[in-house]
Symmetry: C2
Subunit: 193 residues, 2 copies
């Protein structure tokens, strides 16, 4: 009390993000989490139905953030290259603004159970297909070379989604700058030949 009064549920999620990020979802027990929150283990179950419920909350919140930045840019009337540049930059910003949660998102979504796992994969594929469409538009309009779209998409996500692994250690670079340099790197790499 006296601090900003985040709800207990929010507090649990924030601490869970931190612990899952540090030790991994599978290696973090509900007892670890309860201790850090300062309540009894059983009390966690009045806020979440299960341990997986917490993971679900984290993963789908981050997925939601990615779509929130993707859709308005994708629907805007700019050319494909500019779209990609903006999406890459905003994508990085989501990661950097949610370092703990995005680490959990990338590392621990595999621990989601069916049917949640399938829902998650569908969202992921949707986002991926969105990027592929923009690449296709770029090729069609001759703004991009005739690249291998699947392969290029993999490379793009590898580059973007590695950010959480190193950003905190070299945090002197601003998210905007990382996003821009990453965009340059990728777009330059793509237009090879």
């Amino acid at each position: 009390m006296g601090e900003l009064a985040a709800s207990r549920k929010t507090q649990i999620i924030e601490i869970a993000q931190k612990l899952f990020q540090e030790k991994g979802y599978a290696s973090t027990s509900m007892r670890d989490l309860a201790k850090e929150v300062g309540i009894e283990p059983a009390s966690l179950y009045s806020h979440f139905e299960s341990k997986e419920g917490i993971l679900k909350n984290i993963c789908f919140r981050i997925a939601g953030e990615f779509f929130e930045i993707f859709e308005p840019i994708n629907n805007s009337m700019v050319n494909p290259i500019e779209k990609l540049k903006r999406i890459f930059t905003e994508h990085i910003r989501v990661i950097v603004n949610n370092l703990d949660a995005s680490t959990v998102f990338f590392n621990d979504w595999v621990h989601l159970q069916e049917p949640t796992l399938s829902e998650f994969k569908i969202l992921r594929d949707k986002y991926e297909n969105g990027i592929k469409s923009i690449l296709q538009d770029g090729i069609t309009s001759c703004e991009l070379e005739n690249i291998d779209i699947d392969f290029t998409t993999r490379l793009i996500f590898s580059a973007l989604n590695g950010t959480h692994e190193w950003y905190s250690k070299e945090g002197r670079v601003s998210p905007e700058e990382v996003g821009e340099r990453m965009s340059d790197f990728i777009l330059n790499g793509i237009s090879f030949k």
Copy 2:
């Protein structure tokens, strides 16, 4: 029997790689492993001192493979760009030839305990610093633009080390071709401006 007689120890490692890759190290129990091998859980301990011993074996074997390809290329008398190109290609080959083990290497090294964890990190830093030196050589000799070496190195490893996540699903591309296209992508991306 009747098949190629790999030693039991080798067989345990191979099955462990597969299970750790599928479910993660922390979520795979010694009982899971024993069952798949076809022996009693306690019997695993006549081959390995602990569960972590198996992880150690996998992680350091892969680390060794990376150094085996790195060092001869690094010591060879070719220019920095050519060195990078060859290292990237061989790096990809190591990943692709050891898909299970390299997935464990990338995802589960965090579960190593001290002092093994520190030994592992030292190897990782050594490899990373090797790449940084080559980039520096390339800049000094004006074959590369005056890029940010730390940032570039992060991007390189993000791109290279994401390969294990998608390769098996699009396995129609040969390791050599992946390596070459990845090299082109990275080297083209690097020389921006």
